[in-house]
Amino acid sequence: MKAFTQHSGIAGPMDRANVDTDMIIPKQFLKSIKRSGFGPNLFDELRYLDEGQPGQDCSHRPVNKDFPLNKPRYKDASILLARKNFGCGSSREHAPWALEDYGFRTIIAPSYADIFYNNCFKNGLLPVILTEQQVDVLFKEMNAAQGYQLTIDLVAQKVIRPNGESFDFEIDVFRKDCLVQGLDEIGLTMQSADAIKEYEKTREASQPWVFGAIK
């Protein structure tokens, strides 16, 4: 997993509460055998005027020009500004996969659905929690300025605004460490690689049949 220490980028809006995972990535795309490639179908129903099908080339589909993220000024957005209870609904890990594949590295919202929040960390995506007032301030500033850029400093736990002022945010120490070091759960287990090898050695000495059977 990519390490996350600090990220600067353009902020883009998803200005509604209770955005559910089916809105983030509709169910017809779950048949995919992949974990990547969901980016073109992120927010599919809002983003396009037609109904999306899996495996389709999205570059020729009719685009909903009124959907904010389709506007040129947000084209390179990598920070998603959102409202409360973001990511509610089903537990599909495809939701953070789609956000990440699209190019988002951070979401800023007043609150998230639990499972979605957890799933983000498994996939290198940082969900920042600010108060509703603070999120409001960011929305206003973003709407007022083209190319509105924020810096998320995970180490210092700060969201730094263009004027140099910043908002502090809270995050669980364990999760922060994992992101800062770029460790996913597998990565964490791999830190015990020596213990695993040691275990295998002992086991093989007493139970040789456990090893080498499948050829």
Binding site: M1, K31, I33, K34, R35, S36, P54, E93, K122, D184, E185, I186, T189, M190, S192, A193, A195, I196, Y199, E200, R203, Q207, P208, W209, V210, F211, G212, A213, I214, K215
Partner: protein, 477 residues
């Protein structure tokens, strides 16, 4: 200090590391993969630039959404009609080839439903930890394994590290003493257990099945029982090692031989619960009293003996139960109070990882031999659990008995157990099924499943309705 249960012994012998938060790193001896829950795990490995930790532990096969139709199967992967299924099967082949994982491909000898294949090839050995991205992995517990299902993220975790981060479960013992009557099978035993303890009865526990009924039971029968531990809420079900276990293992493809086998067997024989082991929960059931069982509703605990009537809403003790029974009766299109034998069946399915082994095939063939499937039955499928089961059944001429009786003899796969391929129930159709789940829509949207043993399903195919196999004469009514 009190003694250890089989589960305690398995846990202790696979503990790599204890974490401060109470979780532990557990070593996995055998990992079985199939086409549906593995593609994202393999892709995850690729993206992270990781390799499987060990190759000689993984074994893969396609089973969930392959066709069981002989003509479609003969056309190979390209002949799978549904494009998404075809891509999934092809992807499994590609991933296994790419990473060097042993796979039994769709039409290769050895292929089969993951939980039939593992034990019969000797890939599942007593004392192992066994995982698979499928909730019926407890099947392998019949060989005294710590076996359970895992999710896609965990499939990747096991591929990469050979370990899982997990917490220890509680111990539960279900003891069934006595002697089973004629016509009463392992399926009836496990259905009776689920009816007794409920679908949440085993939550958070590893269940050990103990008592004379299981000691007398064949290994295949024990697999049928452990298979459905998950329907009783337990991720793990197991039976201690005895001489039947050791005999079953002899001579199988991946099993050790010679001195190493003897050394292994000596260890396996220690996998019994100590006399002074303490179980957190104990249940006992009278084996003499178990009759053939049939599910009438939409949860595996909605089961009655074949001699009983379908429950009535008003007989339920509390409101929650009344609502549950009411909703289930409505979905199933049944009348409370009617005898369960009054239910006509439109289709019959003999197969699935619960009941598709050679003993199941033999038992079903014995019932249908010399009879004809009722004209009111649209389809009666017999789907062997693996290529090896199929080959053995054909060597014994069982397929001819089925075909002569008007049943379809198919290619191995999960088939109508979960209806990911073309083998499905139509809306409103009743099915006598040897599978393990009777949830709404499980065997096809609007389909109505009645779980039962292979003998009972075979008898229902002939009579056209649910019938007590103990009084079955082959006459159609």
């Amino acid at each position: 200090m009190s003694g250890k249960t089989v589960y305690d012994k398995l846990w202790d012998s696979h503990l790599v590391k204890k974490n401060e938060d109470g979780s532990a790193l557990i070593y996995i001896d055998r990992h079985i993969l199939h086409e549906v829950t593995s593609p994202q795990a393999f892709e995850g490995l690729r993206i992270a630039g990781r390799k499987p930790w060990r190759l000689d532990t993984n074994v893969a096969t396609p089973d969930h959404n392959i066709s069981t139709d002989p003509a479609e199967r003969a056309a190979g992967v390209a002949g799978i009609p549904d494009a998404t299924s075809r891509i999934q099967v092809q992807t499994l082949d590609d991933n296994c080839d790419h990473f060097g994982i042993k796979e039994f491909k769709m039409n290769e000898m050895g292929q089969g439903i993951v939980h039939v294949m593992g034990p019969e090839l000797g890939a599942t050995m007593p004392g192992f930890t066994v995982v698979c991205g499928d909730s019926h992995t407890a099947t392998h517990g019949a060989l005294a394994c710590l076996a359970h299902g895992i999710g896609t993220s965990e499939v990747e975790h096991v591929l990469a590290s050979q370990c899982l981060v997990t917490k220890k479960m509680k111990n539960m013992r279900v003891t069934v003493e006595g002697e089973l009557g004629a016509g009463v099978t392992p399926k009836d035993v496990v259905l009776a257990i689920i009816a007794d303890i409920g679908t949440a009865g085993g939550n958070g526990h590893a269940i050990e099945f103990a008592g004379s009924v299981f000691r007398e039971m064949s290994i295949e029968g024990r697999m049928t029982v452990c298979n459905m531990a998950i329907e009783a809420g337990a991720r793990v079900g197991l039976v201690a090692v005895d001489e039947k276990t050791v005999d079953y293992c002899k001579g199988r493809q991946f099993m050790p031989s010679g001195d190493i086998f003897e050394q292994a067997a000596e260890y396996w024989r220690t996998l019994v619960s100590d006399a002074d082991a303490v179980f957190d929960t104990e249940v006992s059931i009278d084996g003499n009293a178990i009759a053939p069982q049939v599910s009438w509703g939409t949860s595996p605990e909605m089961v009655v003996p074949v001699t009983a009537n379908i429950p009535k809403v008003e007989d339920q003790t509390d409101e929650v139960k009344q609502k549950g029974v009411e909703r289930a009766l409505e979905y199933m299109g049944l009348e409370g109070g009617a005898p369960i034998t009054s239910v006509y069946v439109d289709r019959v399915f003999i197969g699935s990882c619960t009941n598709s082994r050679i003993e199941d095939m033999r038992a079903a063939a014995k019932i249908v031999e010399g009879h004809r499937v009722s004209s009111s039955v649209k389809q009666a499928l017999v789907v062997p659990g693996s290529q090896m089961v199929k080959e053995q059944a054909e060597a014994e001429g069982l397929h001819k008995i089925f075909i002569a009786a008007g049943l379809d003899w198919r290619e191995p796969g999960c088939s109508m157990c979960l209806a990911m391929n073309a083998d499905k129930l139509g809306a409103g159709e009743h099915c006598a099924s040897t599978s393990n789940r009777n949830f709404e829509g499980r065997q096809g949207s609007g389909g109505r499943t009645h779980l039962m043993s292979p003998e009972m399903a075979a008898a229902a195919a002939i009579t056209g309705h649910i019938v007590d196999v103990r009084t079955f004469s082959g006459e159609q009514s």
